[in-house]
Symmetry: C2
Subunit: 656 residues, 2 copies
């Protein structure tokens, strides 16, 4: 089996958002190990335990057929759903031909959470930046001296004496601070197992828990990413940096509004709106905590720290702070700096004395999630000027390098998640996620997630559709559908709206055709135009500030969406600048990874603060050239083709 060197075969491991590349002559079990994803296999890849079950969500057709060993461990319905044993799967020999001729295959492999009990190395940036382990929480096992009439020191003084003996005195003769809850527990706890206790110390200076006996092993933290749509929690052992469990759920606030603006509106117009949205997100977080604790078989009271990322509105609602002024010009948040809050104040079901570290915000529409992306991608350490794009329900842009950084936001991301698109949907089973159109016959071929009959189109499918419609000249560079091509088999005309059929009613699971309409094209144009012009305006701002002539030479695509789109097509529609594919990195759920990094290394919290201070915020809509830049970027790929020199196919595509 051979893989051509310059055309790597991508494998995305979910739900880790971890990207790897097929290794020559290695099976998928070996690839997991090589990628630092240590899974629960008893036999070590010999095919005798049947534990390394993985679900191929994409790319199954490029894998060798089911082996005899797999037949032993997998049921018929398992196989139909796409389950395989990682140690039995490798790239099919036939795939070599594909590699030479066309787009390389892509894999998306889902790792069930029970596999991930052990460890996975932290996903870092597109450039594999590591993270030093320097947690905020440490536990110490102590045999405390007993008191006597001659030396009647208080319980706490004796505990602190033992602790000082164990770890040395604090700097500047400082004394350990002690949480009020510890005062209450200490007399009974210390005597429960004959003065053998374990104390939990926050930030090398504050005793936040004490338990009888030795509980040093039970030392956990949780990194939480509160997305507008999805919430993810990563349970991490703070002794060894290993992830013991991951759980996620839809943000239940979705019921009160799909995007942040509609949630602000709900809160502004309902008396108890804030309390309501706060309660349900806290409930959801407590459910996630419950799930990860059950998986890892630990008590929630042994989670001593949480780190939180989320956009500014999610951040405010989580903290029970009204976001209503983020919705009104000049869109200011209540606070920007990172904060530490006692878990008990927030009603989070973890250690009562636990610390909740919330990453900082840059502005009303550039939140802690963006700081998370900056932190985990290491954009502030890059030599080259880099554009980091986090496309979720909202879109945020960061441009910069080790010398300067600027950021801004576009309220345009949601179209690319399917909002305002007639057949748009999230990246779920049955979503069309890639599209090809034959330029001659206009015949459409597509793939769907989990190969289910199509129900709608997700972001990557939308980008592919537009790119292919351009290449087939179904639409012009200004986004107009070419009415000359109109034929009743491929188009539908409805009240002045023209639709191009991607999938016929006979193919879909919704009893009607799935189409891309003129209106949908307009939505996508606005979204991609907002991103591209936003990036241009931020760059112009930096040029003014630093009197530099720099241009973007590297791109980080963050977020689930950014992870799955076809880079070539994203460039082709003019959503991102025209730079070589090998300089475009898909860095996964960089915001969530930022939360993990902040949990794993306390120094990165200071770093987050430095990023906040260093980063210029650009209010894109008030930049002088905003109208002009936005209008020009509405064209595919742009009014000015000189900005996309590599896109030769545009020679043949009409402007209007």
């Amino acid at each position: 089996m051979m893989v051509s060197k310059d055309r790597k075969v991508v494998v995305d491991f979910e739900p880790l958002s971890r990207r790897s590349y097929i290794l020559p002559n290695k099976n998928f079990y070996e690839l997991l190990i090589h990628s630092g994803i240590y899974i629960r296999s008893l036999c070590g890849g010999k095919g005798s335990c049947g534990k390394c079950r993985v679900l191929f969500q994409k790319g199954l057709e490029f894998i060798n057929p089911i082996t005899k060993i797999e037949l032993e461990f997998l049921s018929k319905s398992d196989i139909e759903e796409g389950w395989r044993l990682a140690c039995q799967c490798r790239l099919n020999n036939n795939s070599i031909i594909h590699l030479e001729e066309q787009e390389p295959p892509q894999f998306r492999i889902f790792l069930p959470e029970e596999l991930l009990f052990e460890d996975f190395k932290i996903l870092t940036s597109g450039r594999d930046r590591g993270v030093k382990f320097k947690p905020n929480i440490k536990k110490f096992h102590l045999y405390v001296e007993k008191p006597s009439l001659k030396k009647p020191l208080s319980d706490l003084e004796r505990v602190i004496a033992s602790l000082n003996k164990e770890i040395g005195k604090l700097e500047n003769h400082k004394r350990f601070e002690t949480d009020y809850e510890v005062f209450k527990k200490i007399p009974d706890v210390i005597r429960e197992k004959d003065h053998e206790i374990t104390v939990t110390v926050l930030n090398n200076k504050r005793i936040i828990d004490c338990e009888s006996g030795n509980t040093v092993d039970a030392n956990f933290g949780i990194a939480i990413d509160i997305g507008t749509t999805t919430i993810v929690g990563y349970l991490i052992n703070l002794n060894d940096a290993k992830t013991y469990a991951i759980a996620s759920c839809l943000n239940p606030q979705t019921a009160f509004g799909e995007d942040v603006v509609s949630r602000i509106t709900y809160i502004s117009s309902n008396k108890n709106g804030l309390q309501q949205l706060n309660s349900i997100v806290i409930e959801a977080l407590n459910d996630i905590i419950k799930k990860v604790c059950e998986k890892a078989r630990i008590q929630a009271s042994q989670i001593y720290e949480a780190t939180i990322v989320g956009n500014s509105v999610m951040h405010h609602i989580f903290l029970n702070i009204t976001p209503k002024f983020i919705g009104l010009s000049p869109y200011v948040p209540a606070l920007q700096h990172s904060i530490n809050v006692n878990a008990n104040n927030l009603n989070l079901n973890m250690s009562k004395q636990g610390n909740v570290f919330v990453l900082p915000l840059i502005a009303g529409y550039v939140g802690a999630d963006t700081i998370g992306v900056m932190l985990s991608s290491g954009i502030g350490k890059e030599d080259e000027i880099t554009l980091a794009l986090d496309v979720g329900t909202n879109g945020e842009l960061v441009i910069g390098n080790k010398e300067f950084l600027a950021t801004g936001s576009c309220a345009a991301g949601s179209a690319l998640e399917g909002a305002h698109i007639a057949h748009g949907m999230r990246a779920a089973a049955g979503a069309i996620d890639s599209v090809k159109i034959d330029p001659k016959t206009l015949d459409v071929s597509y793939t769907t997630i989990k190969s289910k009959p199509p129900m709608g189109i997700c972001g990557s499918g939308l980008i592919d559709s537009v790119a292919e419609m351009l290449k087939a000249k179904i639409i012009s560079r200004s986004g107009h559908i070419n009415k000359e091509l109109f034929d009743q088999e491929r188009f539908i005309r409805n009240e002045n709206n023209l639709e191009f059929i991607l999938a016929n009613d006979t193919e879909t699971s919704i009893d009607r055709p799935i189409t891309i309409s003129q209106k949908d094209i307009r939505e996508i144009q606005m979204a991609k135009g907002a991103f591209f012009s936003g990036a241009r305006l931020i760059l112009q701002y930096l040029k003014r500030m630093y009197n530099s002539e720099a241009s973007i030479s590297q791109i980080f695509l963050a977020g689930a969406f950014g992870n799955y789109i076809n880079k070539e097509n994203a460039k082709f529609i003019g959503m991102i600048p025209d730079i070589p594919n090998e300089k475009i990195f898909q860095i996964g759920n960089a915001a969530g990874i930022g939360a993990q990094h902040a949990l794993l290394n306390i120094d990165l919290r200071e770093k987050a603060h430095e990023l906040l201070k260093k980063t210029h915020y650009v209010e894109i809509a008030i930049e002088a050239n905003f109208q002009k830049e936005f209008a020009q970027a509405m064209y595919f790929p742009h009014m000015n083709l000189d900005l996309f020199p590599s896109l030769n196919e545009y020679k043949h595509i009409p402007k209007r």
Copy 2:
């Protein structure tokens, strides 16, 4: 009017526990002003407003008769109760004769709280030590800059910028910390009065409240003394150090046990005992807070800090920490160091973000109240070796000076508060508080509090009784009642117990005679013996530690009891060492004053910690000479009369 120079006439002003001395040719209004007790008088002492109403609880007979002016302002029943106008009262001319001949008169004057609205200088030690004003809480009135699209700083950042402009940046470029509750309030509060706000800052570094408009004036703290029997709260304005209101109540825990040991027993033997005792003391404190707020017409949320003193058991129960191990050898508390706790954690009805500073403990039976006494008396600054004695429901001793300090406790104080004494009672209306016995006739004359018919005997009455019984040879130095004196008019014999009648059944309000029995004498012997031998043993400990030959040359008597006893008689029964009266200072409620000092000056909290570190704790009962010293100190005044060279009368009193 003349007052002989070496025999000062004492005036105790209550409830301030403030001691003054009659000034020649001044009336009591002038004495109040001279003593720094500024009262609400509209006319300034001219006799035209009638506001300076005070209640003479003791000494009324030494005052000039009612004046015409007083008749205008006081009702008949007022006059009967002992109310007078301070500006109309001075020492009666006849009193001069008294002064030359016998004990000078003593005054106890009660100031109704409405008089004290304005100010009183903090009561300091017997030597009038002042306290510097350096509070922990400051409020700042700010006009915060409004945000703009060009400068979209968050609400909090703008508030901090205004604050920095107002008071300068913090040291070492530190950032203001902010309480979580402030984050929640800030967006609405800042916009309520067009960006005019008041922020409350704790310890020059933490923002704990923000309110709209200018509320700088409403800045309060409360100093609280939680006694085993009585709780007192002093509401103090933290802008001007003035006391706005005082309130007190009986400690409701009394229902669960008179002394700390019985409360520990209750907690140890009842599952919810701790919770129960904690709840009722917190309720009592909240009642006190409510009362002082009503008096001063402020909101409880504008009390930002509380300082707390109390013995170790009161301290633990207040903090909801079990005191049960204080009741078991080696009697260690859960903690010793001072602590700061959030008011909300303790369910105190003050500012939710308020700080509660609890003074440190020295040992299980030497608590924060003793630190309070040390702090306010300034014993650690004295040149002379001083004994400070705090006699309350428990008794604590401190001996030392600016070079060294040691402390210990006697579980013996309660006899002197009336416990275990057949007719013992607290110092309340109807208590016999002074006694004289004619050595020839054995006729008894006595005074009672508020001159009500006698109901029982309080501490000062007990000491007087024993001293007078010694002088009249009714008892011997070993405490035995002289049976030869037995006569049915003056004695009662009951089941091997002999009682001396102080007041006949016709005089008392209880339909039986009030007596001092052989058993009572024994209780008082044990109590006074415990104090005296305790002081001896602590002094011996210091002599061993420092190889010194020092002896006690000054005494501070603290606590309500210490404030009212006859010093001469206390020496006569051998409760305190034989030193000249002018070296014995009655310093009032020094523990409560310690709490006030800690509230008024943050540096004194560090000082309290230094006192804790500096002070040796002596476990008196395990000292080698304990048995011998205690047995010898049981004698009146002591087995060894050489220790009391000034008590010439003992020449005639038999030893047995």
